[in-house]
């Protein structure tokens, strides 16, 4: 697998010198289920800067995906503010939200969500296309080469392994050139060995100037994060460096 290189579209100021790329301020999210109100998030605040690799950790149902959806403008909070790259997306119009998703964030999903009718190259190209990048084909090829799939460009998703599919999904996210990368349980569908490879890829993106937020229930993954935000029952119960200190990816076991 090739090493991730700095991306031209992403600026790389030092983390300490810049404003947070993501600022979540007192965000709450309530859902009405029948006569009951379910609180998915309550008063969550957090910040993520460029070049940071942040893991949002928590058990199933703790609200971590809801939080990711708020940052990615897929959902809107019942209260609080979400500011990404200086834009308050909680006050944005529907049109602005679509535009934000095209140019502000990139998603990597647990179940890949590739387009089955498109080849690996075309799936990656989709990300560049949507973001309006020039030469989307060239960008997509470059990203697939970076994730080690230079020889699988013309393969359809069904011709790729799970790990390869997830790498295509990452290439698609990277091809957009957006400064924020959001990954929802990116290793959930993968075996350990492949999961490690994906983690390395995502981790490397933080060194290209992006802010990377990974949502997982796997405590082992949290050990490689720059910072861990732990949720329980919709609230932040701990924030800081990994317990027991940050380790190299090679040292992970699950």
């Amino acid at each position: 697998m090739s090493t991730a290189q700095p991306h031209a579209a992403v600026s790389r100021p030092a983390a300490s010198q810049v404003e947070p790329l993501i600022r979540v301020d007192g965000v709450g999210r309530r859902y009405r289920v029948g006569d009951n109100v379910v609180v998915a998030l309550a008063g969550v605040s957090m910040e993520v800067r460029a070049e940071e690799f942040v893991v949002v950790l928590g058990p199933s149902g703790c609200g971590k995906t809801t939080l990711l959806n708020m940052i990615g403008a897929l959902d809107s909070p019942s209260e609080g503010r979400v500011v990404v790259a200086g834009r308050d997306i909680t006050r944005a119009s529907r049109k602005e939200l679509f535009e934000f998703r095209r140019h502000g964030v990139s998603f990597v999903f647990q179940t890949f969500n590739l387009f089955p009718a498109l080849t690996a190259l075309e799936n990656a190209e989709f990300g560049a296309d949507v973001a309006g990048r020039p030469d989307p084909g060239g960008v997509a090829t470059e990203m697939l080469e970076r994730v080690g799939l230079g020889d699988r460009l013309r393969h359809f998703p069904h011709e790729l392994s799970g790990g390869e599919q997830q790498r295509v999904a990452i290439a698609r996210a990277l091809a957009s050139g957006n400064p924020t990368l959001l990954a929802d349980e990116p290793t959930g569908e993968l075996d350990f060995r492949t999961g490690i490879q994906i983690l390395e890829l995502l981790h490397a993106q933080a060194h290209t100037g992006r802010a990377v937020v990974v949502v997982t229930h796997n405590r082992e993954i949290a050990r490689v994060a720059d910072r861990v935000i732990e949720l329980s029952s919709g609230r932040v119960v701990r924030e800081g460096p990994p317990e027991g200190g940050q380790v190299e990816i090679a040292g992970l076991r699950w």
Binding site: T65, T66, N69, G72, L74, D75, F98, E99, F100, R101, R102, H103, S106, F107, F109, Q110, T111, F112, N113, L114, F115, P116, A117, L118, T119, E122, N123, E125, F126, G127, D129, V130, A131, P136, R154, F156, P157, H158, E159, Q165, S176, D184
Partner: protein, 810 residues
């Protein structure tokens, strides 16, 4: 769980499934209902027409045998009855009546509308127990009054009673409108199709008819009703001997009940029209059931994951199949149940159409249960089969494979590899529609074929109308070439060229120019093949008009016969071959006999009407008809129009008819109108079916692709852009379906025109034509409707819960 409780659970579950997919279930059921209901109704028409015709002919006691003296001949009243009384056949006769039937001109003009057409006076003795009439409006004709034929009166929306002017300037009152068995379908002489707009029949008491025809005490027909079980051929043989003995100088013809144009056409039309309607009925049923098969199959496919869960829980495959089968059974039952009101509505509509075009005294248009059951069997069987395929597909894999829908979705790219090297401008999003079409070839093919069937219906049906239009236009052009105002004046009986009557017509104030000819009803015979024609002998001097030759010519020096291409094909003759012409020749001032004369075919004319034939002057001499004239082609003088010519010439006693030269074509045109309504409504139903198919396919697509769409939304692709992609996909499938439908439609149209119409409409050599508007209609039904259907999912897509859709736990 007890057996009964378990059964209740499955039924409840299936009902919930149906409720959840209620719009899909309802629209698929509606598709089935349209197919089954229309199939039953359209297939029923010949049964209704035959039943109604049988009952109507019986109710009005139609004759079994008609004896007609050769055109222009009459005998004294009682002569024909005497001949019958003297024959050994008299014991087989239940009722007989002498009639006087003479050609005339009928002026039924109303204020603001000129209606002058050729016609016929039918004089029948009072109290005759054969060939009764049914008064449909007004009162029966008595005294000096007459009754007007109902089909004609209804065509022009004439009142129940009024005034008519007949040839010779006779003004009579008609007291009612009547239906008679010989005119259930009105035909003009020499033409084998309905002509209610161009031919008026006037029913009169015999005395009144004799007065109007200036034939006091004369008759020219004998109609006979036989006792049940009598052989008409034997009676005809006895009667022939008796008539030849009693009237040696008079030619006569026999017409059996089955040969009467109305009788023959009503059954032949019923059979022939049914063949055509059957094609459309099958196409509608086929398209509906095919679409239902496809849509149900896809709806059940969506339950695959739940089938997998059931398998994982150890539920028996047989039990797992229950729910999808119950769902499809509900659709089938709903479709078949809805099909009954659809069928009844279609029955009422088609019965109305039938009554409009073929009004009969007795109408029997009952719901044909057996035909409905035929359609319903298919309507039930195919949905169940549609469920069986996806159930089988789900049950043959491991439970985990069935459960992992997402993995399955990415398990194959179908035929997308075909387009791997194809790069459409516009990036990967622009390439998605084509890829999606190729990714699921089975689904694409099924939708495509459903749309194709609908387009086939549109092309074939509308193509039939276009072909009629083109054919009639060709006929009209041929009749009016070089003289668009040309009219034909038919005389009561043939006269010598230059007679006073002919001079009066040619020299009339309103007539600009004239050209004379003789037109006689004849039969062309080549071996066992016979074609009835109106043979027109024309001279070398043709200042107004002459036929256009598609092949050969009408030579000046030697005998020549020009016939229609259809006639040549039907008689199996080519240019240069000789034909036998069976035609009348005068034997006295009022008598004719039939003779056989051989003539060479020297030309093929351009008219598509088979019954038109021409002979030249040398041929006329050979036919012993030289110098005789009964038709004069005229054009109005400057400052006058057709109505002026009709009004002036009608006053001349020798004139039987004055009409536009394309009147025969117009009569055929009127006959074709009956199909237009049926065809147009069937096309409209086909369009509705296209919309239902497209809507369902789109709705199912939207469900199946929910995650793909959510992924796009997560990447910032707008709803409008996703809809655009779906529209593009719909347009591709619609265009392919339209292309397939156009090809199949042409095939069906070609079969109808080349195989079916020669049987059902032998007198017309129909040309195959499809108008640009028809292609536009087909494109609208097949492409635009399918392409526009995704717009119906706009609301649903706009309300996509992106996070929930993306986080399907598997």
């Amino acid at each position: 769980m007890g057996r009964r409780r378990r059964a209740r659970l499955w039924i409840r579950w299936a009902l919930r499934d149906a409720r959840r997919h209620r719009f899909q279930v309802l629209s698929i059921a509606l598709l089935l209902a349209l197919g089954v209901g229309m199939y039953a109704a359209m297939s029923s028409m010949s049964v209704w027409r035959v039943d109604s015709a049988d009952a109507s002919f019986a109710a009005l006691r139609m004759h079994d045998l008609r004896v007609s003296l050769v055109e222009g001949s009459t005998v004294r009243e009682g002569a024909l009855r005497s001949a019958l009384a003297g024959s050994v056949a008299r014991g087989d006769v239940e009722a007989a009546a002498e009639r006087l039937v003479v050609p005339t001109q009928v002026d039924a003009s109303t204020s603001g509308r000129t209606i002058i057409v050729p016609g016929r006076i039918v004089g029948t003795p009072a109290g005759a127990d054969v060939d009764s009439v049914e008064i449909r409006a007004g009162r029966a004709a008595t005294g000096g009054r007459v009754a007007l034929e109902h089909n004609f009166a209804r065509h022009y929306d004439l009142p129940a009673g009024g005034r008519l002017t007949l040839a010779g300037g006779h003004r009579v009152r008609y007291s009612g409108q009547a239906l008679a068995p010989e005119y259930f379908i009105v035909t003009a002489p020499g033409a084998d199709f309905g002509a209610e707009s161009a031919f008026a029949v006037v029913f009169a008491p015999l005395r009144t008819a004799q007065t109007l025809a200036r034939e006091p005490g004369q008759v020219n027909q004998l109609v006979v009703r036989l006792r049940p079980g009598t052989d008409p051929a034997a009676v005809q043989a006895h009667l022939t001997r008796a008539l030849k003995q009693a009237l040696p100088d008079t030619g006569f013809t026999f017409t059996g009940r089955d040969q009467e144009p109305a009788h023959r056409l009503i059954y032949k039309d019923a059979e022939g029209d049914q063949e055509m309607l059957d094609i459309f009925a099958f196409l509608l049923l086929g398209a509906a059931t095919f679409a239902a098969f496809n849509l149900i199959s896809r709806t059940v496919e969506a339950q695959r994951r739940e089938i997998g869960i059931g398998m994982a829980l150890g539920v028996e495959p047989r039990a797992l199949a229950r729910r999808p089968f119950l769902l499809s059974a509900q659709i089938a039952i709903a479709g078949v149940a809805l099909g009954i009101p659809v069928g009844l509505a279609a029955d009422a509509w088609l019965a109305g159409v039938m009554d409009q075009f073929f009004p009969l005294p007795v109408v029997r248009a009952s719901f044909q249960t057996d035909l409905y059951v035929q359609g319903a069997v298919l309507g039930v069987a195919l949905p169940l089969l549609a469920a069986a395929v996806p159930v089988w597909r789900a049950l043959r894999v491991t439970p985990i494979e069935a459960i992992r829908v997402g993995a399955r979705a990415a398990r194959s790219s179908g035929l997308a590899w075909l387009a791997k090297g194809v790069r459409l401008p516009g990036g990967s999003l622009a390439n998605l529609p084509l890829r999606n079409v190729l990714r699921t070839p089975r689904r694409t093919l099924m939708t495509l074929l459903g749309i194709g069937a609908v387009v086939t219906i549109v092309i074939a049906l509308a193509g039939v109308m276009d072909s009629f239009d083109d054919t009639l236009e060709a006929s009209r052009q041929e009749a009016l070439t070089g003289a668009p105002d040309r009219m034909t004046v038919d005389l009561m009986s043939p006269q010598r060229a230059g007679s006073d009557d002919i001079q009066r017509v040619a020299g009339a104030r309103t007539v600009g120019a004239a050209q004379t000819s003789l037109r006689v009803a004849s039969t062309l015979v080549a071996g066992p093949r016979r074609v009835d024609v109106a043979l027109e002998t024309i001279s070398d001097r043709r200042p107004l008009w002459q036929p256009t030759f598609d092949g050969g010519t009408l030579p000046a020096e030697r005998s020549g016969l020009v016939i229609a291409r259809r006639a040549a094909e039907d008689l199996h003759v080519a240019l240069g071959d000789r034909l036998t012409v069976v035609h009348p020749v005068p034997t006295g001032p009022r008598t004719f006999r039939l003779v056989h004369t051989a003539l060479p075919v020297t030309g093929i004319h351009a008219s598509p009407l088979r019954f038109i034939a021409y002979a030249n002057a040398p041929a006329a001499a050979q036919l012993h008809l030289a110098g005789l004239i009964n038709r004069i082609s005229v054009v109005p003088a400057p400052g006058h129009d057709a109505d002026d010519v009709k009004a002036e010439l009608l006053r001349l006693p020798a004139v039987a008819a004055v009409q536009g030269a394309a009147a025969t074509t117009d009569a055929v045109d009127t006959r074709m109108q009956q199909f237009n309504e049926i065809l147009l409504i069937t096309v409209a139903i086909a369009g509705a079916m296209a919309l239902l198919i497209a809507f369902n396919a789109t709705a199912i697509n939207a469900d199946e692709r929910a995650r793909e769409h959510a992924t796009m939304f997560a990447h910032g692709v707008t709803v409008a852009r996703v809809i655009r992609g779906a529209v593009a996909e719909g347009l591709i499938i619609g265009a392919l379906g339209t292309a397939a439908g156009i090809a199949a439609g042409h095939g069906v149209l070609s079969w109808i025109v080349n195989e079916n119409m020669p049987e059902t409409m032998p007198d017309i050599g129909t040309l195959i034509a499809v108008a640009p508007l028809t292609y536009a209609l087909a494109a609208a039904a097949g492409t635009i409707v399918v392409g526009a259907a995704p717009l119906l999912t706009l609301r649903k897509l706009s309300r996509t819960d992106v996070p929930a859709t993306l986080r399907v736990v598997e």
